[in-house]
Amino acid sequence: MNDLAALPTTRDEDWRYGDADYLASADPVALAHWRTLEVAPGETKCDCAVHLSGNEAKGLVDRLRVHVGKGGRYEHFATNAAGPYARYEIEVTLEEGAHFEFGGVTLGGGIKRQEFVTRTIHAAPRCTSNQVVRAVQWGQSVGNFLGRIEIPKDSQEVDAAQNFRAILLEAGASVNAKPELEIYADDVKAAHGAAIGALDEQAGFYMASRGIAPEVARKLLVRAFIADSFEAIGDENVRDDMLDRTLTLLDEAAV
């Protein structure tokens, strides 16, 4: 499994937006490591996390493999504000009637390169997934979302949705979105969408005309924008806490 020759490079499709320098010097054993999580049939598990830059000088790759039993539900909500290179990868296998809910936000500036990579395997009929990813980037930063959805031929009546939107606060920042749908069953619903834009200038002026300072207006607009990703969090306090903790990082950005 820990094949040294398999150290990924940005020539690999799944790593094409990764950090080439980091990958060249990465520890292959660490890179090949997957955390695992089992969600028992009928059970619900929810993970919420705000990832900040830690002690990693160059970057980190975090890989999580989840198996969701029949009728189970796995929810994962995360902000990726880490860097210089931070990749959070989730592979989920869904059994019959199971659901995967994912809300991700990449947010950062400088030269940060932040990515979410999901692989959703709809391994049985009638399982569902919903992914809402938002990116807010400034400086020279890059936000990436690679989302693969696999629906094999016997997985009928699957419903899979994926939505990505990005706001670039400054020229120089960028995002990459790569939806990848492999569908072999015929009776399925699979929706995906991606859009990239700037912060709404008209809304900014409207707010200013009412006395709201630009940095406060921006925070309100970004909050509304990323709130989509955390909308599915059932507990309002947890949702607000996620948003508040994510938004404090916006203060680093120049207005």
Binding site: F205, Y206, P214, V216
Partner: protein, 246 residues
């Protein structure tokens, strides 16, 4: 209160305002009428400080301060209110949140204590009632899903809450039916008819002026004020058209 002298302004490199002068004193209501493309909306955006509207000459003083040196949000805190012809929709931000932020931002910059949640809601309810706007609408995202008339009433609710010294109202009457026009007119009078306040009403039609009686009526054409008169001027314009009167 507001003194505009020989104002020149460009939008996208094209000169729209070409030497506009106008003085509005406290306690007065002025109406500006004029044909399409005369520069009416440009005037309101220049006063509000909208990016992209570049002042190339002249001066604007507001309460003795050089208005043009202030950032848009500082102009609001100084007491200027802009009523938008096309109020902007802001999905995901509720009116209550938006207006409480606005009111408290203004109070903070004037060195006043912020309103508590309860104080703000009481004020918002009072002003919504004045404009006959359902309070539940203020719990919705800013202007999202509002009809044209509701947006205009919501603008006036905002004006009531923010309590400005000077209001520039850009075609606040457009999109209003007869009943809403009366409600909005009464609202403008209730909020802005006061000794220390003044209003600049930009309008195409006489009908709003039946409810909000102006002290002066100006005709704006070709980027400058070409004629000034009393309320009778608005009536003459309505009857005879801009070309005949000017």
């Amino acid at each position: 209160m507001l003194k505009i002298e020989n104002l020149h302004a460009t939008v996208g490199g094209t000169e729209i305002l070409k030497g506009l002068s106008l003085e509005v004193n406290a306690g007065e209501i002025h109406a500006i009428m004029g044909p399409n493309g005369a520069g009416k909306s440009t005037l309101s955006y220049v006063l509000g400080g909208r990016p992209g509207y570049e002042v190339t000459g002249g001066s604007v003083t507001f309460g003795g301060v050089n208005l043009l040196e202030l950032e848009p949000h500082e102009r609001a805190a100084a007491g200027l209110f802009l009523g938008f012809q096309y109020p902007v929709e802001i999905p995901g931000v509720s009116f209550v949140q938006f207006l409480r932020e606005a009111a408290n931002s203004q109070r903070k910059s004037r060195g006043e204590e912020p309103l508590t949640g309860g104080e703000f809601l009481k004020l918002a309810k009072e002003k919504a009632a004045l404009l006959k706007l359902d309070m539940d609408m203020l719990k919705r995202p800013v202007n999202v899903g509002f009809s044209g008339g509701e947006k205009k009433r919501a603008e006036m609710v905002q004006m009531g809450i923010l309590d400005p010294k000077f209001a520039v109202l850009d075609e606040t009457d457009s999109g209003l039916d007869i009943d809403a026009l009366r409600v909005v007119g009464d609202g403008i009078n209730a909020i802005m008819r006061a000794p220390g306040k003044a209003v600049l009403l930009i309008t195409h039609y006489q009908r709003l002026l039946d409810y909000v009686k102006p002290d002066y009526v100006h005709v704006l054409a070709g980027g400058r004020i070409v004629k000034t008169g009393g309320p009778e001027l608005a009536r003459a314009l309505e009857d005879e058209g801009y070309e005949a009167v000017t």
